[in-house]
């Protein structure tokens, strides 16, 4: 992207895309909030969900139109090298912000496991204060018995809420998680093969490798769903199983959500290539961005596999 062509810089015409996106996301999210409140506090839920679904449809329509517009513009040759480089920077910084988002939850896991948990078990206190509140609680990870279970709900200080019952059984790393690790790592390689094929101008190879990547990606999602089902149905591992369940589901849940996003992005690229013949050896930003995203999701999974499942 070295040849920066200033003269042909493209300032788009005024556009209704953004307002449409903003308003629809407002409906989506505001409705969602009302729905949640209905669920938890028992008022006005159904209206909320309806608004939210309408918002979601409009939001997706807005995104679809937006991406369509950029793709059409690119096909028409309106995107200069400089603009394309801006896109590259945009997606790179976006992925960086996503990394920071995951850092929070990994940090949470680290903090709970290495600091808060042991303190709760009485470590390091000179006055025995946590033991005064949670007498008899012993810390171990994974935390199978919550402090509440140890002392009994009725004996906890009133400031605490909820019922937290630890999992009956623990999650193992060598079943589904291992399969999923293999799936996702392989898919990172295949998406790289797709990229190489594209850069070598081999469109057939590109389509094939990308298809394989998609199959691997969706298989991952399927296994993840299966794993959640097992966690709830057999292990008794739920969102309510104390901090172990909380950290487990927030990390794997957000990761799974990102896998779905990445897989959707790659699917779109695959459809573009198959149906419209998009992408050439030197013009394939949409694919490239999606593949970066995919690698990022993959790296996060490695962290998950190590720190959530194995250690």
């Amino acid at each position: 992207m070295a040849s920066i062509d200033h003269e042909s810089y493209y300032v788009p015409d005024s556009s209704s895309l953004a307002v449409f996106t903003a308003v629809s996301s407002g409906l989506l999210i505001g409705g969602f909030a009302a729905g949640l409140n209905g669920m938890t506090f028992g008022e006005g839920g159904s209206v909320g969900w309806t608004v939210s679904v309408v918002g979601l449809v409009l939001f997706l329509a807005a995104l679809f139109t937006w991406f369509r517009t950029t793709i059409v513009e690119n096909r028409a040759g309106m995107a200069s090298a400089q603009l394309k480089h801006s896109y590259v920077l945009g997606i790179q910084w976006f992925i960086f912000s996503e990394v920071c988002f995951f850092v929070v939850f990994f940090g949470t896991l680290f903090y709970v496991r290495n600091l808060a948990g042991p303190w709760l078990g009485g470590e390091g206190t000179k006055l025995g204060d946590t033991q005064a509140l949670w007498g008899g609680f012993q810390y171990a990870w994974p935390m199978q018995f919550t402090p509440q279970e140890i002392i009994g709900v009725n004996n906890q200080v009133p400031a605490n809420n909820g019922i937290f019952v630890g999992a009956k059984e623990l999650m193992h790393w060598n079943g589904i998680p291992l399969i999923n690790t293999i799936l996702l790592l392989t898919s990172s390689v295949t998406v790289h093969f797709a990229h190489s094929a594209l850069k070598a101008g081999k469109k057939a190879g590109f389509n094939l490798w990308l298809a394989i990547t998609l199959i691997l990606g969706f298989a991952f999602v399927g296994f993840q769903a299966l794993e959640y089902h097992e966690a709830y149905a057999e292990l008794g591992l739920t969102l309510e199983s104390g901090i172990y369940g909380s950290t487990f589901f927030i990390l794997t849940g957000f990761h799974g959500f990102h896998v779905c996003m990445g897989a959707t992005m790659l699917t779109v690229q695959w459809l573009r290539s198959m149906m419209k013949g998009d992408f050439t050896a030197d013009d394939h930003f949409g694919f490239e961005a999606s593949s970066w995203y995919w690698h990022f999701v993959d790296v996060v999974w490695v962290g998950l596999f190590l720190f959530v499942y194995i250690f």
Partner: protein, 519 residues
């Protein structure tokens, strides 16, 4: 294609804007409006505190006021104001035709009214608006929170999305759209500070998103991140919040530093002293801001080693901050100084922000903070940094660039008067708060002991004066736009340097369609 056309007509110009100047204008007006909303809440607070005892509002509503005041000011007023400045000025300062991603730029803006609507709507809900303080510590914000908290959480998510997109845009613009010859070390300081701020935003806003997401899960889905009963920890909330929160205060102040680094050289008729040290100081502040967060948590409970580490690390920030202050002073030293309104506000910023920095150093000393925390001393500290630091320099920026934006000159006498009213009002409001704080008056309270009455009355009077100064500012701006003296000079200020001063006033709708060459 829009290379040579003018703005669209009517409301569409604003709704469908892709032009950085139009979007910048919307940001600026939006933030100014929010400034008045947050200001109104502040007036309610100060009116209640005018005398001891409960007079006007009940305590629960008082807490809603302090909470919403903080949130609206930080997320609705200060941050969008500087993004507005960035939108207007960065392309013109680096010789770019527009922002790098113009349509996303519009989205970043229009998400703000959506978020603020969600936030303000909480006032009309069962149980009232959030009342747990702008720092929304768990379990106040989870177990004890009103149902409207869900809307607050999503408002924060949307604000975060807006900030992240805005920052990505700013970084892409700075990295990719500089005119030939505009090397990084030739960029105006304002552009530099924004580059670093944008980086901070992209790194810190997701952390805030993570914090509110965990709150959401605790409220609605039975998780126990912030509940010890399930093995979590309420203190975890504070760690996550301040891991965002401390970078956030530098997000607020760095662009302000950038502004005064533009203005002081202009009115000193000298180049900025120590340009490269300014750049490095800004970068080190940004780095340090990520490793000092728990200085807000000295009294929450931390191992001794933690207290010591955070104390020393925090005090380190005084070094790069001191470099900046000394550089501004050295810039003025021996210069041909004149004190037009932008310069008055800038000098006041340097002076008053330094006071806020000193009280920050006091608070950074852990054993001393044990006595000062949650007192009015903290309130005084952060208003000296955020109001005298950020808002004063924002006002300076408005006066400084208003002629460029509108092609009209504001009335200097009125502006100077406005400065003195603001200056007196501000100090009358917040200086006494140091004393009541040291004497033990807690913050976030609608009532107080009798011995604090005099200083509080002074504070309240000062705050009304300061509030009036803002209405006066609004008047001056409107008067300038409607009937200010036409000023078509490219260079409004004789000492000014930089590409924006090579353009006509008001700056044409499209600028630098062909880039200038910077030598």
């Amino acid at each position: 294609m829009s290379e040579h056309h003018g703005p669209a007509k009517g409301i569409k110009r604003w709704l469908f804007a892709t032009n950085h100047k139009d979007i910048g204008t919307m940001y600026l007006w939006f933030s100014f409006a929010m400034f008045f909303v947050g200001g109104f809440f502040a007036m309610v607070i100060r009116a209640e505190l005018f005398q001891p005892g409960l007079q006007l509002v009940d305590p629960q509503f008082f807490n809603q006021m302090t909470t919403m005041h903080g949130l609206v000011m930080v997320f609705g007023a200060i941050m969008p104001a500087f993004v507005g400045l960035a939108n207007w000025m960065i392309p013109m300062m680096i010789g770019a035709p527009d922002m790098a991603l113009p349509r996303m730029n519009n989205l970043s803006f229009w998400l703000l009214p959506v978020a603020v609507t969600l936030l303000i709507s909480t006032f009309f809900m069962e149980g009232g608006a959030p009342a747990f303080g702008w720092t929304f510590y768990a379990p106040l914000s989870t177990t004890y929170a009103p149902p409207s908290t869900t809307f607050f959480i999503f408002a924060v998510h949307i604000l975060g999305a807006s900030s992240i997109m805005g920052s990505i845009n700013i970084l892409a613009t700075i990295i990719n759209l500089r005119a030939p010859g505009m090397t990084y070390m030739k960029m105006p300081m304002f552009v530099w500070t924004w580059a670093i701020t944008a980086f901070l935003l992209i790194a810190a806003m997701p952390v805030l998103a993570g914090a509110v997401t965990m709150m959401l899960m605790d409220i609605h889905f039975g998780t126990s991140f912030f509940s010890a009963a399930g093995g979590g920890d309420p203190v975890l909330f504070q760690h996550v919040f301040w891991f965002f929160g401390h970078p956030e205060v530098y997000i607020i102040i760095l662009p302000a530093f950038g502004v005064i680094s533009e203005i002081i050289p202009t009115f000193s008729r000298k180049p900025l002293f120590g340009y490269s040290s300014m750049v490095y100081a800004t970068a080190s502040i940004a780095f340090l801001s990520f490793i000092v967060w728990a200085h807000h948590m000295y009294t929450t409970g931390m191992p001794l080693a933690g207290e010591l580490y955070f104390m020393y690390a925090t005090m380190l920030i005084a070094i790069p901050t001191g470099v900046k202050v000394f550089n501004w002073i050295a810039t003025m030293f021996g210069g041909a100084l004149t004190f037009e309104a932008p310069m008055l506000f800038s000098v006041a910023t340097v002076f008053l922000f330094s006071l806020g920095g000193f009280t920050g150093l006091m608070l950074a000393i852990a054993p001393i903070d044990f006595a000062y925390q949650e007192s009015y001393f903290v309130v005084a500290h952060f208003h000296y940094t955020m109001v005298a630091g950020a808002i004063f320099s924002m006002t300076a920026a408005v006066y400084y660039w208003l002629p460029k934006w509108t092609g009209r000159m504001y009335n200097e006498t009125l502006a100077k008067t406005q400065f003195w009213i603001a200056f007196v009002g501000f100090n009358l409001t917040f200086f006494p708060q140091h004393f009541v704080g040291l004497a033990g008056m807690p913050r976030r309270t609608p009532d107080y002991a009798l011995q604090f009455a005099d200083f509080n009355m002074m504070s309240s009077i000062g705050s009304f004066i300061y509030g009036f100064a803002q209405l006066f500012l609004l008047y001056i701006i409107i008067q300038t736009i409607r009937s200010g003296k036409e000023n078509a000079d490219e260079k409004t200020w004789e000492g000014a340097n930089g590409l924006e001063w090579t353009l006509a006033s008001p700056a044409p709708f499209h600028t630098f369609s062909t880039p200038p060459t910077v030598k």
